[in-house]
Amino acid sequence: MRFMIIRKADADTEAGKLPSESLLSAMMQYNEAMVNAGVMKAGEGLQPSAKGARIKFHGGKPTVTDGPFAEARELIAGFTIIEVKSRQEALDWVRRWPPEDANGELELELRQIYEAEDLGEQFTPELRAQEDRLRARIDGQSAAPDRAP
């Protein structure tokens, strides 16, 4: 099963404050540990919402609002995707997040990722075959190891 560990935004990430050398070093060690355990599938950091935008849809019509967005609690600053055997194993990894981050004051959110088999019977064999083809093409384009056997 796959999980997404979400690093919530805070005032520093929204201010575009770059991580210190010691934090980058600690994150690197954490990521290496996850790669060595064969669980890390992806991980990215996001630039402040000031560089982003929101697209609201009403009646299917999009309206664009440029960032920044004031509510840091509603924002995410980064994520890591892991593949593990249980929710407990995922939580154990979250607990090992480097304490150097945000001087040890932060919030992480753990969320389970949908797999094709979770979608039920409305995910018809035809749709499933299409999904498999799409994922194979994504892997081919990005050479991302996410889905590699």
């Binding site: 290496e32 790669v35 890390m40 849809f57 609690r73 969320r111 991302a144």
Partner: protein, 150 residues
């Protein structure tokens, strides 16, 4: 430039309502167009927060709180990762997300996508390039990214 298109959670995504066939087909066509344009790197949907947890870290001490979490506005329901040439191109793709289909998880044409730029290893250079140790870390970061392709 890499961008993340975040689909924000709403009442139905938090209730675990699954997309119907019509919406799945529309999303399939949208994803196909992203792939045909050569921009799609990844796309995932998240289970409701009721199956998740939060880990609060304070003074370096960890406290686990199980979901669900009430503030739907603070939650995300899924994302696309795309590689494009500009912020405008990323926003143009976000405008094309098929919300007009309605269906169970897009609340009948209403919803929100957040577009956020993703850090490259090079973005950390200003913090690191002043020292030998920093430059070594920067190289290690790039090598790590090359290895994990993230």
């Amino acid at each position: 430039m890499k961008f993340m298109m975040i689909i924000k959670a709403d009442a139905s995504s938090e209730a675990g309502v699954m997309p119907d066939e019509k919406l799945l087909l529309a999303m399939g066509r949208y994803n196909q167009s992203l792939i045909d344009a050569g921009v799609l790197l990844a796309a995932e949907g998240l289970h409701p927060s009721s199956r998740g947890a939060r880990v609060h870290v304070a003074d370096g001490k960890r406290t686990v709180v199980d979901g669900p979490f009430a503030e739907t506005r603070e939650l995300i329901a899924g994302f696309w990762m795309i590689q494009v040439k500009s912020r405008e191109e990323a926003i143009e793709w976000a405008r094309r997300v098929p919300f007009e289909v309605g269906g169970s998880t897009t609340a009948g044409g209403t919803g929100q996508i957040e577009v956020r730029q993703v850090f490259d290893a090079a973005d950390f250079a200003p913090a690191l390039e002043h020292s030998t140790e920093g430059r070594a870390l920067l190289d290690a970061e790039q090598a790590f990214r090359d290895r994990t392709n993230t």
